[in-house]
Assembly symmetry: C2
């Protein structure tokens, strides 16, 4: 079986980006292509798969074709994958399968979203439409409300508290403050984190990720080709994905995301490892409660212990069992919907190559996990990466 | 290398469909699942890939998750692929690669579009946005205009005529009139075909495909599994895809679609055959001129002879070298954007199993080709199918 490696990865800064769709994508591709150690030509790419929710948020349709053309890959087989906020996590999975199928040797996977030039009405539409429409959106429920209900129920069932969530916000702001690509590069202390105005009880401003523009790009290669392109490939050791009911009321439990649990079990099996073998994880913390649940669903802590894990600071950089969101996560690095999944891989690539600034490097990072969720848990893609080729 | 077979395929009738998104998808899935000879459970599906342009045209976002849930596949890894009118052609390609990668044994690929409940403004947007926006759409160019320019130039360079195009319309209406799933089931004679009112000179009403609702669903299986599910698998012998510049002015020629040529060459190579080995083809005739160019680009006739091929009736059912669009094509069967690519496979599946009504069966059909184009040629996916497993 062919193995798959990440040989290059790059992204724009997340935030209110001055460039439009084409400009942001080019910037991400340039960063990814120049991160490749060996000779690389965009023309050598066999497949391109781009994740985006709202055509990248712009009036430019046929997003995949126009972006592929604009980044020097004209002629390359290309398509857009849309899976709400998990769009590029699934683009990554499809790229991995394209290489393993023998149909492709080099695949570009990426994601993009331009959110800050939308009118408030369109922004609400494009965000809301990723959740359930018939039973939730049209009744007025927004994503903060959805996650607020999950939080309330988790507090009730497991005794977790809003203070636990504040610790997550403080940690991710701390991590993001050192990340030059992060949307919000400032620390907050616990008191500040507790003082945010209410968004959807119990979630306040500091529990919610920002609305970001951004693009990210990852170059995958088959084992044979990877060694020509770099001496330090980062191997995709496992890929797992799953879906769940879109509307909360259909799920047996709202204190976990079943899709996260299933996807991660599949990924661990493929990589022949378990949660204890992961040095750091980029998890989908669109809201702080989402990170709390992710630490449980991915198996880093037992069910119900996520609040304790957070408040004891065990996910802080090099402070505990496993570093959670060294990039700052969606909470602080930002969340340009379609770009988020492959943006997580950019962080993993740089961390596992020990190439980030010393003040934010995960010590002895050998193995990492990415966790990308679509539509309050309707879909999830989990990937495991390592410096070693071992795994599936 | 694992081979891939189509073991089931089904679709809704195309047209102004009474059901909404969920209902249409269920109807297509039911048709596909019940077409499988052996025991099949939707729960056994490993991956689901759904092509759609405009969230299926409805207000329901997170399309893949909600449709996967609604068709008995809850939990299955799923995503939407959007590539303008080639969305499900690329869903098919990604499904084939998923099986060949060893990550999946059974994959559902399909497509869906609800077009007839959109306001005229939204319909124009969702159709127009698949073409180039900056240089074409915002200047007022619509798809009929784009293809009209291709036609004018083809007439000029190769001496083809509008009469040639009329012959294509007459043929596809003849084929579609016998297809119970077709949107427009009525024949037209040559005089009628010549008398359509002008849409975009030289293209008249009868040169243009209709605006259709519809869904289609195809079940793929690995060689090992296929034999358990059916005694008559239809093998995917080759898959090829490519992209091109989105805006016409960037292309060296507008009398051909370079993406069609490249994609088909790749597919022929993979299937170890050439155009002469194809018994019938479902080609992307969004406009009659598109079919004329496709017969050239796919290698059925030499460059510039497409008009002659059409006017001599050599693409008519069992009348010439190769039957073109036995289903009626987009022109008569209809064109529900995202559903079209896998809808072509439904026709191929039934024809190659010799299961369509006798009056429209391609004689001794052994091998067929599907040709699905996105955005006036910005992307193209070509697949070759056969009763024999031979090929890649």
């Amino acid at each position: 079986m062919v193995d798959v490696a990440v040989v290059g990865a790059g992204q724009t800064k997340y935030g209110n980006h001055p460039l439009g769709l084409k400009g942001m994508w080019s910037e991400a591709c340039d960063a990814a292509f120049t991160s490749i150690d060996g000779d690389f030509s965009p023309k050598s790419v066999d497949e391109c798969i781009i994740g985006s929710v709202a055509f990248g948020g712009s009036q430019l349709g046929n997003t995949a074709a126009i972006l592929t053309e604009h980044s020097g890959m004209n002629g390359v087989s290309t398509r857009r994958v849309e899976n709400a906020c998990a769009s590029s996590g699934f683009a990554l999975r499809d790229g991995v399968m394209a290489i393993k199928s023998g149909h492709a040797d080099v695949v570009v996977v990426g994601g993009i979203e331009k959110m800050n030039d939308l009118t408030p009405e369109r922004k609400r539409f494009w965000l809301g439409v990723s959740g359930d429409t018939e039973w939730e959106r049209l009744a007025g429920l927004t994503f903060p409300g959805t996650y607020a209900m999950m939080a309330r129920r988790h507090f009730h069932e497991y005794g977790s508290t809003h203070d636990d969530l504040v610790h997550i916000a403080v940690k991710n702001h701390e991590h993001g403050s050192a990340n030059p690509k992060a949307h919000i590069q400032k620390q907050i202390d616990f008191d500040k984190g507790k003082s945010g105005f209410m968004i959807a009880d119990p979630l306040t401003l500091y529990d919610c990720c920002p609305t970001s523009d951004g693009a990210s790009c990852v170059v995958l290669a088959s084992s044979d080709i990877a060694h020509r392109l770099t001496d330090t490939p980062i191997w995709v050791q496992g890929s797992g994905s799953a879906s769940d009911y879109l509307a909360l009321h259909d799920r047996p439990s709202v204190t976990e995301l079943a899709a996260s649990k299933i996807a991660s079990r599949k990924a661990y099996t493929a990589a022949n490892c378990n949660a204890m073998d992961i040095d750091f994880a980029e998890v989908h913390d669109c809201f702080t409660i989402a990170e709390l649940m992710a630490t449980e669903d991915l198996g880093f802590v037992s069910k119900g212990s996520g609040g304790e894990f957070a408040s004891e600071g065990r996910g802080r950089l090099n402070q505990g069992d496993v570093t959670i969101n060294p990039s700052g996560g969606l909470k602080s690095k930002g969340h340009p919907l379609g770009a988020t999944g492959t943006g997580q891989v950019v962080e993993v690539f740089n961390q596992l190559r020990h190439q980030v600034d010393q003040n934010r490097q995960v010590d002895d990072a050998e193995r990492a996990l990415t966790h990308n969720v679509g539509g309050s848990g309707a879909t999830c893609a989990v990937h495991i990466f390592g410096r070693e080729r071992r795994g599936n």
